[in-house]
Symmetry: C2
Subunit: 253 residues, 2 copies
């Protein structure tokens, strides 16, 4: 306490995170998880509801996140300086390599997608923006892991490394080796590690002080990004990452 933070607001925001995690919860569930009285939980969600941040599925029903969140997200995407400054570079990269480009940052224990520009591929099935993906199974994640210290690495990989495909790295030792290679190469590759048939290449973006603030990647089907094409794509991704870093004020090597 006395962290100059407001208790009730903190609780309300915790409710949002709970709903993000569990999908939908009743007033009683929330009260139990927050260790407060039912009526307190009720007033919290009522206030959130008045701003459309949560909605109840039916009268006297469970609560879930509402459209107000999407409204805020629209404004956020437009205003986040990383997104704002990287957008033109991302677009050019998507155009040049003809693949989908993503920007991610480290959020909690995962990689958070903050922007996406779709390439020339046929049908774009999914919009990843706002999604979180485990660090150990993506090129972006490996880049982000390569940017942190040893102890932080241990923290971020403290959980079980979930397996998605045969190629997913599930050994912390193996991950450490790969991440070291990423540091040397300046970019990361992930082939079939999150999804079979999906290849991705990522490079780190540095802020004005040289600290890595995010990661940019190009990803597409393995039959387009072949072993032969890979070095060429990597070169473009790295160049884009450096260009964005420059725009953020980084003038290192």
């Amino acid at each position: 306490m006395s962290d100059s933070t407001i208790q009730s607001v903190d609780r309300a925001l915790t409710v949002l995170r709970l709903l993000a995690r569990y999908g939908e919860l009743g007033v009683t569930d929330i009260a139990r998880k927050l260790k407060v009285h039912k009526s307190t939980a009720f007033r919290l969600v009522t206030t959130l509801e008045s701003h459309d941040l949560v909605e109840q599925h039916s009268d006297r029903g469970k609560y879930r996140l509402g459209v107000g969140v999407l409204q805020l997200a629209g404004a956020t995407t437009a205003k986040l300086d990383l997104v704002q400054r990287s957008r033109p570079v991302s677009q050019r990269l998507a155009e040049v390599v003809g693949e989908t480009v993503n920007i991610t940052v480290l959020a909690g224990q995962e990689a958070l997608y903050v922007d996406q520009v779709a390439g020339s591929a046929a049908l774009q099935l999914h919009n990843w923006v706002g999604q979180r993906i485990p660090l150990h199974a993506t090129s972006n994640g490996k880049v982000l892991l390569a940017s942190v210290s040893g102890v932080r690495f241990d923290e971020l990989t403290s959980g079980v490394l979930k397996r998605f495909t045969d190629k997913t790295i599930t050994s912390r030792q193996e991950l450490r080796v790969q991440v070291e290679r990423v540091r040397q190469n300046g970019f990361a590759i992930a082939v079939d590690e999150l999804e079979v048939g999906l290849t991705a290449i990522a490079a780190p973006i540095s802020g004005a002080d040289g600290v890595v603030v995010g990661s940019i990647s190009a990803s597409g089907p393995g039959f387009r990004i072949t072993r032969a094409h890979l070095p060429d794509v990597a070169k473009h991704v790295v160049a884009s990452a450096q260009e964005i870093s420059r725009r953020l004020g980084w003038h290192g090597h």
Copy 2:
């Protein structure tokens, strides 16, 4: 007062909306707009910051929305039942007509994009999800307007009807006529009204009780969606809207 809503939480959420509107604000600006003391405003943003919902650009700098919002949005998209149930239908529609498909709902005085599936077009420049677009200049907007009562129509169109192109409807009278036609046809068209070269067709989605809850549209360049193709596309859009309505529990006509 005594709306069973918590004052401090309400203020904190208002801060988020202010930041969404103005992009970035200082503690003093926020305090002035909220009519509270600086220290109160400071504690509000500090609490929001502890949840990554806002971030300050630099120490002792202005505040803006943060990545936590995007994190919540990711969960919201996945959980909003409208998105969840419409996604498969949207994908099929995008595949069949080969154009970008959007789902919108009425939020405040505007249309809010809650989901998007990109068609087979070349380079997708923009992701509209979370964006809000004026009701009078889009096919989705006209569908949503057609679903409300006369008085609500007047409220929603009370502001000035902003002109985007030569074709934008800026007369409330003309808009009323068009909306009436939408009711009769069961779908809305917008050609060059928001952007020159952009054609869109939208149809209403009904919830379990028959009330219109949203709108689905297909949109693409005018040279692909020609006058000849239009009826065919419209048929698919209307069919998709009905399919989604059915999935939401609507068993009307």
